[in-house]
Point group: C2
Chain length 478, copies 2
Amino acid sequence: MDEKKLTPKSENYSEWYNQLVQRAELADYAPVRGCMVVRPYGWSLWENIQDALDSRFKATGHVNAAFPLFIPMSFLEKEKEHVEGFSPELAVVTIGGGSVLEEPLIVRPTSETIIGYMYSKWIQSYRDLPVLINQWGNVVRWEMRTRLFLRTLEFYWQEGHTAHATPEEAEEETRQMLDIYTDFALSEAAVPVIPGRKSETEKFAGAVRSYTIEAMMGDKKALQAGTSHNLGQNFAKAFDIQYLDENNTLQHCWTTSWGLSTRFIGAIIMTHGDDQGLIMPPRLAPIQVVIVPIFRKDEEKEKVMAAVDQVKAELADFRVKVDDRTEVTPGFKFNEWELRGVPLRLEIGPKDLEKGTVALARRDIPGRDGKSFVPQENISATVSEMLKTIQANLLEKATRFRDEHIHEPKDYEEFKEIIAEDGWCYVWWKPDAENEARIKEETKATLRCIPLDQPGGSGKCIFSGEEATEKAYFAKAY
Amino acid sequence: MDEKKLTPKSENYSEWYNQLVQRAELADYAPVRGCMVVRPYGWSLWENIQDALDSRFKATGHVNAAFPLFIPMSFLEKEKEHVEGFSPELAVVTIGGGSVLEEPLIVRPTSETIIGYMYSKWIQSYRDLPVLINQWGNVVRWEMRTRLFLRTLEFYWQEGHTAHATPEEAEEETRQMLDIYTDFALSEAAVPVIPGRKSETEKFAGAVRSYTIEAMMGDKKALQAGTSHNLGQNFAKAFDIQYLDENNTLQHCWTTSWGLSTRFIGAIIMTHGDDQGLIMPPRLAPIQVVIVPIFRKDEEKEKVMAAVDQVKAELADFRVKVDDRTEVTPGFKFNEWELRGVPLRLEIGPKDLEKGTVALARRDIPGRDGKSFVPQENISATVSEMLKTIQANLLEKATRFRDEHIHEPKDYEEFKEIIAEDGWCYVWWKPDAENEARIKEETKATLRCIPLDQPGGSGKCIFSGEEATEKAYFAKAY
């Protein structure tokens, strides 16, 4: 670990983020431009995210499968908006086994097309519906400006692809998955996302309707943290996904797709991190408790380590790491585990042995305020409670921060001032793609979402002044 | 499901395999030549394989990470044997984001090179060693003749890559991982593999020493089901993976790699399958018990389904599927679940309700012999015992089959006869690459492995007649 202090968030947020990702050993740059290596600590966080999502997917009837990495170029061209959206970002395989390929293959940027093709083979009758398949894998988008986790050429994600008999069912599925993402973000990652609908301008290339969860990062910029798309019959028609209904009539299916990626790790870092480093939400933390033994003499060591072993055994239900290195000081260890965001540090020294106590230091509350001395007895229950408290506190803090930076400007002038200071604007909005484009040009803010939660009634559109029936969030975004 | 009967194994083994994989919905052909789609039933089997291996890897101190899909062409060229071994099989990306790339990128066929490059950045001191990292992912090898699971352009696997301070540690790791594969194959998949060393001819491109687990398929051909390689300092020297030892001297590391792939699914199919279809080993089976309710009248249905619900609840510890379709007959369901290899079928009908029993039908013993009527009381314990019995029986049957087809020819003439009938030969062997090549040319048999388990002593080499101190297995292979 690099012993230099992190650049403070307030000084240079972007530099703070880059240093943190690398020093905490979450990820590293690969030798190919824009690609990343997810290091074991980062991958362990992703595994916990995967578990939390996968169990929710399976509980709602979804199953996993694996579709090919390579897609014939011609497939992408079958859906007009889709090919326009993805063409500029493709990686293309032109040589295989030493020969030039007759038809170049693209490395999947997303799998609607190849999955659509397979569904057209598998689906015959209404009895085959719904098809509820998810895939965990890697995809490639040739991005020009990349940042670890936030935007990389290759990234890891899950992509769900479902086929239904009716538009109602497809919409219900799209919304159900958005709800699952929202629940995951709030209860597992303590990231207070706002679920909503994307505007026509911002929706997925090929979707009828896109939903998103939007999160506010520590620099107040918005991050799209997961999306769920109702694809209508666009892909079903492009790929002939048809079924015989109960009256023996051939019908096109209604399909959806939804995805959440390693980008979410960026959301966790930028929602909770501080100038000391990462703060991992306890439910997803690769290490929930780090135990640091404290001793000077050899005789102390033996007794302290015996107590450490006992405490570790009692904490078998948690993800615990004992840092028993002898070449570095306890102070060094404290800094390192703070940098890496372990939610709870447990210290045991000779004085604790006498008193039958241990010291607990909360990562979310720095210094003395976060430190307490608790009995060694019942340590498992104490730790369990404290992790819950930390989890709740992180969500509360992040929600407070977010709400403090959401404003309701009275006019477009005030709107521009708020955006200039990186705040979010919550405003009445009458849908209009041209006006949306002008706002983006003038302020760099985009329409993040039209939240599901609407006040009702109507008001004057912030830009056009016309009557509007929905409110929307505008912000600068990653 | 296709209602036609499977082609019998004895008639056309290869056709039997291809039909089975597709009709059991394990996998399907993708629209790109040689690529496969792993369908939910097949992927669920792979998830169970992943869990069984991953817990063994983690219990021995390994962690997971993710390295990039794309590798600069120049990396492969740094290790001479490695590039020679893999060059003919590469998929090459030459276009990215609409532009021709300055240096083409290869889609990883395996990751020794890119991981070696990263290790050279991460490893500084003896304190950083050992590094024990595994990766679950997809790789691409441009194969000309492909078969679902056995050999596909893209396949799924885990690849472990470790770095050590001494050659002894590296060898110990290589052997430990071979032991883990062996234990997994025997205790989870009921596939009786033979662990051993590869000859110089058959070893991995870039390894000092390769180990393998070899399995006998139902047509008696050998299948290499997992490999573990001691890479010596070959990759450490090619990629400058160096560390400062305790005396502050710069040393090259000793590295290993080991992998097991979706090919193993082929091994499971061809070890246990019969003319009715698949037989899944209970410990890995996606569905361990299928419950088929039997009734004619509506009043029967209600009572039967109540009993089904109760039994299902009592079997909460198992992977259970209730097949409550009404559009097909119980007989149709029996055939379908036999085809798909569910180890145990549980039937409940009106007569069972009267007697408080259920019928259990074992997949590994066809017909009446495999059927029994057991009390509904304590059903969970009964099912647990029966699944264990089936698991043990599958291993026993496969081991018996294997041993019946391993022969010890007295001379090379007899050797050729045995190989001509697809048997395995267990013979004294004096290492000689030229002789090995001649045997391959004359008989199509390859040296599968020099088993770890050796009789000791010495004998005459089956080919050269010279004194040999080790025995080896020869067979035709997939």
